[in-house]
Symmetry: C2
């Protein structure tokens, strides 16, 4: 179907995209690792510059502690509708790049190979911010100014669980007021369909720590000295069995069961077990906590308990005959609506006590509740409809993602529908070595955002239906 407006946006995007890739590459060269607190001020400065270059106003909010939150705003043009506002949520921080020896290039020296751009943070989430700012430039180039008001909230602590976001959202509630929100990320699946979500899982990221002694000891004392590593191993083994069932009493309490509609939506999601297995090079078949459960249902509706890290004693090459003074585990529980991170912590603490592990301390490093928008909202429909026109292979929408973000706070404070979409692909490897996006997806993402924005105000006017939390 011929669509002159879309063709025009495509043309302007093509004119701008080469420069945008250069801007993105420079943005990616900042090692903005929030877990290590590196390169924060430089990155914030560069984000502000990018906002200015796209014709917007920027404000750096830093009075409430944590890494600064950048607020950006672009006003509707003369022909636009200044009664409607779209909010973009992005983050400028990235995951640590290790294991470094598995990167084929330097994580903070972006390289393009066969149309694929490699760098830490390119898929999660620096590529999306640059695509969105470029979409604004495209709309300005099309003439008549912007079709609606546009705002951005760009934070710097997403990869460490957004600990400062809630206070900023509460304090600057009026500033961030909007009618709908496009969330940080998204991308294409193995069949090139764009995958979007209207919600997100929560998280309880815990540290379990066992201290056995003040000093590391010669391992020969293992004949009579208890071992912190064995204690932690034994404790962990009581929390999840070999079939991956979580055995912590109360862990599954309060979970809001999915509606029939949500279940059907999940059944429509694509999932290719073989492709997933090949992608990661898995050595064992997929496994869900509930035996025989559909992996798609597990992904959307079932909470997890994942060991993200384990460390004790000597971990270098060769041998060291040491009895370690302590042992630590990092545990990531992905939560579903109805679960509360603080309650999860309490359950785990009680479990450890009940099983005699009084010497193991559990702390909640990062807690976030899950969130699901009403994915039948007209805004959601508008995002899907425009995506279907831009992306030849079509779209897929899940009630919530398997991943996490601070969406619950947005929903609670701003009361607006949220959809997440972005410029990733099946090989994006977020959080892993050789993170990447394809330049063609980057370009399509710009077109989609420009096109979605151009019809945003009129799509919203069709109804005033409010979202459900």
């Amino acid at each position: 179907m011929v669509n002159p407006q879309l063709d025009e946006l495509r043309l302007y995007t093509k004119e701008l995209v080469t420069d945008s890739v250069e801007i993105l590459k420079e943005y990616l060269s900042f090692p903005t690792i929030s877990a290590q607190g590196t390169a924060i001020p430089e990155t914030v400065e560069y984000v502000v510059k990018m906002v200015h270059d796209a014709g917007g106003e920027a404000q750096v909010l830093d009075n409430l502690g944590g890494n600064p939150v950048v607020y950006a705003s672009f006003e509707a043009g003369e022909k636009g509708d200044d009664t409607k506002t779209l909010l973009f949520y992005n983050h400028y921080d990235v995951q640590p790049p290790d294991p470094l020896d598995e990167w084929n290039s330097e994580p903070f020296s972006p390289v393009i190979k066969d149309g694929v751009l490699f760098a830490r943070g390119v898929a999660d989430n620096k590529g999306d911010l640059v695509a969105r700012l470029t979409a604004i430039k495209v709309l300005q180039k099309a003439g008549g100014g912007l079709p609606c008001n546009i705002k951005f909230l760009i934070e710097g602590e997403e990869e460490i669980g957004s600990p400062s976001l809630a206070p900023y959202l509460r304090e600057y509630k009026e500033l961030f007021k909007a009618d709908a929100c496009i969330w940080e990320f998204g991308g294409k699946d193995a069949e090139e369909r764009i995958n979007m979500v209207a919600g997100i899982k929560g998280m309880a990221y815990l540290e379990l720590s066992c201290k056995g002694a003040d000093i590391d000891m010669h391992s020969s004392v293992g004949a009579y000295v208890d071992n912190a590593a064995w204690r932690l191993v034994q404790a962990l083994a009581t929390m999840k069995n070999q079939e991956n069932e979580i055995l912590v009493e109360g862990f599954y309490e309060g979970i809001i069961p999915p509606t029939e509609e949500e279940k059907q939506a999940v059944q429509a999601l694509p999932f290719d077990e073989e492709a997933v297995s090949k992608l990661y090079g898995l050595k064992r078949p997929l496994i869900t906590a509930v035996k025989g459960q559909d992996p798609r249902e597990a992904m959307v509706f079932h909470p997890t308990m994942t060991i993200c890290g384990l460390v004790s004693g000597y971990t270098g090459d060769g041998t060291k005959t040491v009895l370690p003074k302590n042992a630590k585990a990092k545990i990531d529980c992905r939560l579903v609506p109805g679960q509360d991170p603080d309650h999860i912590l309490e359950c785990i603490k009680k479990h450890l006590q009940k099983h005699g592990f009084h010497d193991i301390e559990a702390t909640l490093v990062n807690g976030q509740k899950a969130y699901r928008s009403n994915y039948k909202h007209p805004f959601v429909k508008h995002v899907i409809d425009t995506a279907n026109e831009v992306y030849p292979a079509g779209t897929v929408l899940a009630p919530n993602s398997a991943g996490t973000g601070p969406m619950f706070e947005f929903g609670a404070q701003l009361q607006l529908p949220i959809v997440s979409t972005g410029v990733g692909w099946i090989q994006s490897k977020a959080h892993a070595p050789n993170e990447s996006i394809r330049l063609e997806d980057f370009e399509q993402g710009i077109v989609h955002m420009a096109y979605m924005l151009s019809g945003f105000a009129s799509a919203l006017k069709e109804t005033h239906e409010s979202i459900e939390a």
Copy 2:
């Protein structure tokens, strides 16, 4: 009791000890970490220099691979007995110094504080070599030449399990032929008694490795992707229970039960549970694999299974939401006479298979059998008797130590009685940060070795009783 000979040796030791401490400090400044292969040639060169400076001949054996073995020899003087030979076993390599942040000084920059010399390797085992070479200088100063032939075997792979020692011992059996052997280490207990051993535990140092995938993954896939860290934790938990009993079938097979004599010897060993607990800052009471077992019996007669290291996924600061591609454990089993490291490996492999852990690989990094000398041999008696004269608080002798060394190979190849004694103290912290010896113990150790050597030949002539393996 007045002993003019001993007084003379004490006097000469006092004259030489200041220089010897300087030599030791220089020797300690080489970071001879065999696990990392650092500073090997420089250290060997320095060892050879020390042997020459003490009037001996040195030969660097390196034709059989591995780090070189230094053979040193000193001939009996005119008044000495050249039919009797004492062999010293030492090693010039040291343990890795980490965790570095727990050292109060640089591990390879020796410092003396309140009469205590701190450096990696000072107690295990560089201090002993320098003390022994100084004892030779003391005897030469006393006139009349050396009282017997003296040999040294100084290897460079003890801290990684002496993988090349057996071939060198076999090849150079004639070179190392001797009538008795003084082993590498020893030291004083909390009550200032010198603790010696006439045997040693063996070792099976294993690596357990689980590979779950080719790449680290975003932890959200934990809903359906199996986790190498959980697999390893579950596997380990089947190998040892919360009461520290080893559950691997066949592990305890073939153990030679201690004799009544050996049991009595162990009952005579000092052991202060409270002092041990305070020394290490233990957070839990002592625990033995056999409920209620005397810790001394566990230490000497019972095998162990110690986790020395655990590592998987993200171990840095803060959070990283990763599902690790693999997980590894380093396991140190201390063995007793009758156990075979290869058999232990087979038992663990079978155990893993039996429990469904086909994805966990077990490899033996270092295997050594245990060894016990006949601790009633006249040489042993001579070492004790001379020690009782030198050390005011007296001596303690155990049938075997809780620690390990390649003593089995010495016994098998050279057929000689072995006693281990040295210049350590209760706070020596071998294998741990802030390793140390006291200068007064170093000085006493020199005196003891000189005095022991001076009466060695005549003590041996009293009998020709051979050792039992």
